[in-house]
Symmetry: C2
């Protein structure tokens, strides 16, 4: 664990550039609106790469294809192509062929080997990639490479309302390196990710194994701790590409810790941005469960609360309905007894670098409500950012998840998404 009070990195909102990487985006005609709908990220040299993928048993074609490419050539990745509007999931052998054909188009356009290209897709499940438009998008992006990361982040949006990009510079033993990432999210965001696509690039030199370990370590407390609606997508993918273009390696244990901290910070910004921009979201909730009997119990309780429709609608309504939170904890299948539980709410956010405060308004203690001031509770509940802390009093394990409310707009967006 790194010391969160003294980060060896500087976090930036957005991306100014990463040496050796170029990006492009284009409107390939996938989105009927004519908006940007494909993006291409290219490294000028082979990268060590790794991915974390959906654990859904229904895996989209690009997930299956990427897993095969990464297994075969983890030190030789050159490019990632992303399309929106079509998830290429539940598309059978035709879908697999078209994912591979997309790779072929990208490899041809860039003059790189086919086994050096990864693909990501997001959008509607069950429709086939329109290859004429994909070809158009590949051609357009391959001919327009530059450093407009903001447009690339915009191009991968679906029901997102804002592009999501972040970067960090971190000082390693051999010098500074940059870590940069873009992401898209919006719906189907669950524990263990969701229609969550993210590509993270770095000019640090890493081995494929190190890239994989670092990505999994960084994704666990970030991408895997966000809940919008509890659904998990068929396409979830977070990729990391490490080019080594900086000439600086992650060489020492201190380097590894510093890099992991910076990578985690980038992932946290992206993951939280996904929740903040979740479908219909009006409130950002930091939910900290402490005092659980085990890590598994802590996560089970946190995820059950975060996915409860009753809890989420209460947040939407600005109602300090602690009874729904406690009742959700009680049905989580974990060791939970209301008689040893305490529940606080406060305005603002928690993250892993923030010590848990028992400040805020204590709503519930030892099995019963505290006689708190309802007006004070409402004043907290109408805030845009709310921290909830449930101390279980059963042990020492904890879990932090970031989640959101369930609004009329969520229903509107998802009641009519395909039309």
């Amino acid at each position: 664990m790194t010391n969160p009070t003294a980060p060896a990195f500087t976090l930036h909102d957005g991306i100014t550039g990463v040496s050796g990487f170029q990006v492009a985006s284009a409107a390939a005609g996938l989105k009927a609106s004519g908006a940007l709908d494909v993006a291409l990220i290219v490294s000028d040299r082979p990268c060590a790469a790794a991915g974390v993928f959906t654990t859904n048993r229904v895996k989209a074609a690009p997930v299956q294809v990427d897993q095969a490419v990464l297994a075969a050539n983890p030190a030789g990745i050159r490019a990632v192509f992303v399309n929106t509007r079509c998830a290429n999931a539940s598309t059978g052998t035709v879908g697999l062929e078209r994912a591979r054909a997309t790779i072929g188009l990208v490899a041809g356009a860039l003059g790189v080997p086919e086994d050096s290209v990864l693909v990501m897709s997001t959008g509607v499940i069950g429709t086939q990639l329109p290859m004429d438009r994909i070809a158009h998008g590949v051609s357009r992006t391959a001919g327009a490479l530059g450093h407009d990361w903001a447009s690339a982040a915009a191009a991968i949006m679906t029901t997102d309302t804002r592009p999501k990009a972040a970067s960090a510079t971190v000082q390693l033993t051999g010098g500074p390196v940059t870590i940069a990432g873009i992401a898209k999210g919006a719906g189907m965001i669950a524990p263990n990710m969701a229609t969550m696509l993210s590509t993270i690039v770095t000019d640090a030199a890493l081995t494929p194994d190190a890239a994989g370990h670092l990505l999994r370590a960084a994704a666990e407390p970030t991408f895997n701790r966000i809940v919008v609606d509890g659904d998990m997508s068929t396409n979830d993918t977070v990729l990391i590409l490490a080019s080594g273009a900086s000439g600086v390696a992650v060489a020492t244990e201190a380097d590894r810790a510093a890099f992991e901290a910076a990578l985690t910070a980038v992932c946290r910004v992206l993951a939280q941005a996904v929740v903040r921009d979740g479908e219909g979201v009006t409130k950002f909730i930091s939910l900290h469960v402490t005092g659980a009997a085990s890590e598994a119990d802590a996560r089970r309780i946190a995820n059950t609360i975060a996915t409860s429709a009753l809890v989420k609608t209460a947040f939407y309504g600005g109602d300090a309905n602690w009874g729904r939170i406690v009742a959700a904890a009680g049905r989580a299948g974990a060791d939970f007894e209301p008689d040893t539980a305490h529940l606080w709410i406060a305005t603002g956010e928690h993250d892993h670098a923030t010590a848990v405060t028992e400040g805020g308004l204590l709503l519930f203690a030892d099995g019963i409500p505290t006689g708190y001031d309802e007006a004070a509770a409402t004043a907290i509940m109408v805030a845009a950012s709310i921290s909830v802390h449930l101390a279980c009093g059963r042990g020492t394990a904890a879990a932090l998840v970031w989640t959101c409310d369930l609004s009329h707009d969520y229903v509107s967006v998802n009641g009519h998404y395909r039309s």
Copy 2:
């Protein structure tokens, strides 16, 4: 198992009366509207009784008290008193005292032993029972006993929009007996019940053990198979009281089977009525998962689909978004492979007495969509009752759940319930 094609019982919509039982309802001032808010059910003789209760670790005071009463005096129950507006949950020792005090008031008013009275509460969590109003309600109902079951069913409503009552007459070896029940539901309806209160009475003679076995057998495929929002309440209770006032015992194995079939039919009507009247419900969904590798897998897949916000909003929108159904199955933690799965939709309802049809519109087969006619799919999806059949192709286990859509009105009702 009984033969569902030849029921030995007649099912009635509503309740005309059950020999030996009387009911009453009153407006005790709990509901600000002045509507009926308490109900009392009384037997003229001691009943064999049993209950099934919430498995939430947070159990309301009436649940705890009823469990103790039933353990101590399972053959001597005389009355059930129900109040709305206050769940008496998360109310600590004061809540337990007030649940017992309510029993004392009922026992006093009826002149029956304290250990012969059960209580049920529904409403907001964490507020104490207002004992003056409860006393008023006990007094009013105890003095007005009669046979107005419809008013009793209306009195226990919370966010329900319709009273729920059903009865059946069943021919046993010794003659006919009646089974009758009332229920309330609306929100927090999950697998394993929810803010689901139901009292079922019969004039058949049963032992307490038989009453318990029959109630659990009848609740399993009915009350435990309904999903509104996936939340499970602190108060869920289904009680059965068997008075023997008919003079007819459940004496033979054939009697037991006939009685179980009739009791299950009554429970099914009540459970389905709870879903139909769920908060904001516009569509009733019969979801049949077949071909699962195990019963547990079948239920896990069915419950994951039924609680998916994305699936439920698609039903609300009338969108045949089979991709969300298949993706939900894929994240259920069960043996599920899209390549062996088939998904049909049709208008209308399934219940356990209906053979699974593979008719309807096949949307998805062997990992890919079928090229079905979208207009035909939409014509089904806009119906008020929709049957969904997911055949997993992994084994022979099946599960049927009844669920509903997630609408703007659900969000409205639950965003502002306490205010």
